[in-house]
């Protein structure tokens, strides 16, 4: 795969630590993307979720799914329309089911398939796997492309 593409997507992500949840993109095309994130044991939320029993919160798994599956794919699909200082997508709905816990120091892999990208809305079928290839969570995520004239909420 083209390294320039991966690099420019990662560079355009509007997140910084401690809320950036994409390390790498393995594949991307018009219809799907796959990417990964390593859950470093020093991540802040492990201190409190849960007390003396660190497990990645479901909202963080959802955020990983969204950053890789929706925002990275969306940035790729927007392509040259992308403008600096502009937020590419905001989340509008999620419907996720969780199957396995993710512990500190695990790496997770996200696969996302485009369901549609029309009228500025991107809807994706997303899935996360752990190092054993087990499905951690899956579901649907949607977001709206931010343009000056379609922020109606």
């Amino acid at each position: 795969m083209n390294n320039t593409t991966t690099y420019s997507i990662l560079e355009r992500l509007p997140y910084t630590a401690p809320f950036r949840f994409v390390d790498d993109i393995q594949e991307v095309d018009e219809n799907h993307i796959s990417g990964s994130f390593h859950l470093h044991p020093d991540l802040n939320f492990f201190k409190g979720h849960f007390t003396d029993n660190p497990i990645t919160p479901g909202v963080i798994l959802t955020e990983i799914l969204a950053q890789v599956g929706l925002v990275c794919l969306g940035i790729f699909l927007i392509g040259d329309e992308w403008q600096k200082q502009q937020l590419p997508f905001v989340l509008t709905s999620t419907n996720i089911e969780f199957y396995k816990p993710v512990y500190p120091d695990e790496t997770v892999w996200v696969e996302s398939e485009k369901v549609y990208f029309r009228f500025g809305k991107l809807k994706c079928k997303v899935m996360m796997k752990n190092a054993l290839g087990e499905t951690v969570c899956d579901g649907m995520i949607s977001g709206i492309q931010i343009k000056e004239n379609n922020v109606t909420t």
Binding site: T92, S93, Y116, R118, F119, G120, K121, K123, S142, I144, T152, T153
Partner: protein
């Protein structure tokens, strides 16, 4: 040519999927506004348009999409595309 009533009957189940206001849904009329009356999440207007495309086997362009905010407007757009 489909009548207005036939189009409304096909629209109802689509709107029921996304509407958060069951009462407004029961009292559906030409002026019912998808966002203000039926309390549809504005991002789901896209899903309504896609479901309408499928239900009537038509294609809706950007301009029509932007106008499709009431039951009356939706009927007008569907009728014009079916012609």
């Amino acid at each position: 040519m489909m009548t207005q009533e036939e189009i409304i009957e096909k629209l109802k189940p689509i709107l029921a999927t996304y509407s958060k206001d069951k009462e407004a849904l029961e009292n559906l009329n030409m002026d019912s506004n998808f966002i203000k009356d039926l309390k549809v999440n504005s991002a789901n207007l896209v899903d309504i348009v896609l479901d309408v495309e499928e239900a009537f086997d038509i294609e809706i362009d950007n301009d029509s999409m932007e106008q499709m905010l009431t039951v009356g407007a939706a009927i007008k757009i569907v009728q014009s595309k079916l012609q």
